[in-house]
Symmetry: D2
Subunit: 338 residues, 4 copies
């Protein structure tokens, strides 16, 4: 940790900081500049909190120089992690496209959706049974009954299922229906009790980025899951909130190479929630794969105009098929395959 | 709801929209402009979803014209609501300052804190037993044991206690320790299952604004609580996330008059988390009261330099006393009292 | 234009709005909903200002339904515009990579840079003679002398030159040195007098997006140039400002398909300023081309470590060559060529 | 400057950095931590650019520890600067309210406006002759003719005039009409050539904050003016751009105490452009004065409903009078007067 003293800091204040550092079991290096004195804390600085030092008299700023995350960091685990989802690899050479409807509506809809996902060559299916809706008066999802419908529809094509967990109290239900991949939604990225709970399972977890979460906060949320023992974590970039009002969110493609540098875990992209409109999905999907994403989470509905939620962002079966075709060429261009 | 058709929309597409509106039990008004046709849906438009219409062929944009919230909206409830907290009114003429440490640390610290809160004339006390921390390796709070310490310390001065609930599974513990005001933190503003849970109690709830939540989303989160039957809701502005890096968050004072216009419920401000530095707290507190806030949630620690978390943002007892004094004049200037 | 009346609007207020609309030469359509009355203004609504109506008693909100831009809009000009830059097409099948250093430093540096740009097969060259620097104490560019150096170096390989204009008073100097493409930088996107000035020339103009400009504002800035008579406009996305601090800006790839929908003019991307680090450039460049960009503006320096500004974001000649190679495959995947 | 080396940095890379620091005439301090080596550059670090070091092999991050601004910084000029505007002090005990219309429209409007400004006890008047409008088709202001009308109207009451300069080529016209305070608008905060130009005059300058400018960038823009010799600079916070769509901008009150700490120059607030609605102005004005602002820049129009621009944000004469009355109490509460 580096502690920058204010321009008027006294010798006594400097001594007092050094003493605090030594009390925590670290060593101190003092660098006296022309206008500022800088103190370096040498040792395991993860024990120190910047806020603690910033509250002490004479201190202008305190900064960590080492990464606060360990298990998920590439610094300690150089090679890419490949997550195994019922035999399907995520994070390796093969790019995975996880498709399916926003919400589980009826057995018929799910049967048609599963058929289309399978027919386009996608190997995993998504669908929501518990839905985080902005309004309490909107459809909240079918809940456990929805999981049953989803499980049933996916079984026919042997598609592993991905679905969102919103509440720690539902985790037993998820295990009972043998959900293959647990999704943590954007609004729960910092629901720490929920993260701890999925950290206790061994299920692959898709961790969506919070609407205005920094890369550092996102990595720390993954560290929560990893610290519980579950290292099967997949990051999912889904657009961030900005001042722009033309589209729902701004897909942050820069996050892809940055995460690839900071963590060994796979990174996928949700182009449907990012843009919020079906017509934006192909361009955003291509950009994501070109930038190095390991997969996509795409909304597809057998009949988008009749979808119960987010109707305007789902592709239909034909559009999904066309998309997969075009992505295949992009994947090849970056040395991957679909 | 207003539905704007694209410039090339056909008569058939317009007819189809009108049909959908009528199927939902509403009436349609068609306004043919020079370049665009606009369709108005007449009736209870809360039944309609904008996304649904935006997915239909020929539609450029669909917008609600009525507010999506009902119970919390001032449109249906003109006079200010005053929340009663063990006899202390929040939302009336008297401005309430809720002070206390970021986290419950020790019985001694809590005893000193309670004494200082009482001595400065504050009528409610805050303190965290369950702490949402960015890092899994940071102090997570004392949990139920912390609630016990807090209860014990506050009892002596008859101070109602305010503390954060992070997980629906802890609600019984909160009721057991008779927490007076349940705080929903910024990271849980859209944890809808948690909101539903506090909606089932009759405890006053402080609903902090999400880090990048719009006013509309915030009101809808309150509507979740209200829809469950609990109308004792207090909004708490605590700063929003922006591009600025000098301070932790940007205190959004504009939210105060805007909420006062949109809702009948009280609005308080947390100047400590907004700025992130103790020296910013007085100016921000004065701005909040001057803009019409009904109260403040301020961090105070008997010995800030030794605080276990957010040490750099807590006031000490003397600073709190000075602050209350200066706020008293501001309150008078806007026709309130402290 | 749509004017939504507040819930308590009186008949008199509604009449008054209708009168104002008719005074402006438009017609009015009144739609009386259950909770709100909506008035549509029929005719050329570009004559009306939303702010004007929002100030009138009883009005809740006023919104345009037609696009405020005409010349640059695709609604009135369906096919793609291809800009001719000394015989090199921008906006057609061929993707153009404009490379060169951040700033013109010395004749030797420019000679090496021009050679490298040419050797990698790029057909246009960039370089800054007038530099917008955050600090008054930083190198401000060589000015006119820099233009001379740039012109000289580019002549050998017949490379058209792209350089930034910061001040309307310099436009004669730009014409004198026959600058081929005038760049309007991010800080000047809404320097309306400068836009009017380049609108009077017939030089191709690269219009960079303002750091926090919306798509709509950006299109209106282009409309300023176009309204002056110069339709040779190229949009350049260069990253927007957000809360994320890991990278300088967030490259907004969604802007690419959105601009392609809204305007007939070409769209290029500056991956160097977006990410701010040379190692991010390849991934961002690939994403941009995959999303449909017509070209790139890339920083390349013969010796990045010695660059006088933005040293950390320039590629060297070898890296540029590798990048062009990898982009060629991406371009093919989307039916383009480099 | 502090240079943090990456975890795998070699001795040779460290030596090379030290050599570069010494070549620049500074000294180096090496602090070898458990996981990172940190190098401190000792001497006048303003000569060094962080980007230059971040481009060198082995470097993870480079950071300045001293402030990049000198003349405007409080570190070198402890006491508050009071700007003299034709005998009226800005920055002292007296809070100044600068009122007037958004744009100069007609001699009659200006006469009525000047009368109202004077009658409410305001000592300075604002009005725009050159208007930065998002659309090229909107009213662009009366230009020099508008300055003449403004001068004429203000003369009667001896009100110093404040008006916006958009283009360096107009500066002689401004001097000719003896404009008392030159306003640099939000879109020109980083129009560096314009800043240099006003730096060459001795006229007081109101420097509005860029829509998404950081405090540090804003201070550096002021430093541009100061470096030219003109130290009569007044900062004007006018709201920043965020994700919130309910109001035009978010008034950043935190900027007030922060600027007061960082600079000795006065800080005023524009509550009209911040919120964008007249009804928000009183609350925002009170918040600004309570937070320590030295003045306000308020839009007032003799007949807001007929204003040619920003009609919805102007107060009328009566509202201005009421506002000044209520602000008087707030000013007293913070030891100031109006």
């Amino acid at each position: 940790m580096i502690i920058v003293m204010g321009s008027g800091a006294t010798e006594q204040q400097i001594d007092s900081i050094v003493k605090k550092i030594k009390e925590a079991g670290l060593d101190a290096n003092i660098s006296r500049g022309t206008e500022r004195t800088v103190i370096g804390a040498i040792g395991d600085e993860r024990k120190l909190e910047a806020e603690y030092f910033e509250a002490l008299p004479g201190v202008e700023q305190a900064m960590h120089v080492v990464k606060p995350y360990k298990i998920v960091g590439r610094e300690w685990h150089k090679q890419d992690s490949v997550i195994d989802i019922k035999g399907i690899p995520l994070g390796g050479k093969q790019v995975q496209i996880i498709a399916g409807p926003c919400s589980v509506e009826t057995p018929e809809q799910m049967a048609l959706a599963a058929q289309a996902v399978h027919a386009t060559g996608c190997r995993l299916m998504r669908g929501g049974a518990f839905k985080p809706r902005t309004s309490p008066y909107a459809f909240q999802g079918h809940g456990a009954e929805g999981l049953a419908m989803f499980r049933e529809a996916a079984k026919k094509y042997n598609l592993p299922i991905v679905t969102e967990l919103m509440d720690a109290r539902q985790i037993d239900t998820f295990l009972e229906y043998d959900v293959d991949v647990i999704q943590i939604g954007t609004r729960n990225m910092q629901n720490f009790d929920l993260l701890k709970e999925v950290g206790r399972t061994n299920k692959p977890v898709i961790l969506k980025r919070g609407m205005s979460a920094t890369i550092a906060e996102w990595l720390m949320s993954a560290e929560y899951i990893a610290a519980g023992g579950n290292h099967n974590i997949i990051f999912c970039e889904r657009g961030i909130r900005t001042f722009e009002t033309y589209y729902r969110n701004v897909l942050d493609v820069t996050a892809i190479p940055v995460l690839k540098k900071e963590t060994h875990l796979p990174v996928i992209v949700d182009p449907s929630h990012a843009g919020g409109k079906a017509w934006m999905v192909p361009a955003l999907s291509r950009a994501a794969i070109a930038a190095g994403a390991d997969g996509l989470l795409v909304e597809m509905h057998p009949n988008p105009c009749e979808a119960w939620c987010d109707a305007d962002q789902a592709l239909n079966a034909g559009e999904l098929k066309d998309l997969v075709g075009s992505l295949s060429l992009i994947a090849q261009a970056v040395g991957r395959e679909i």
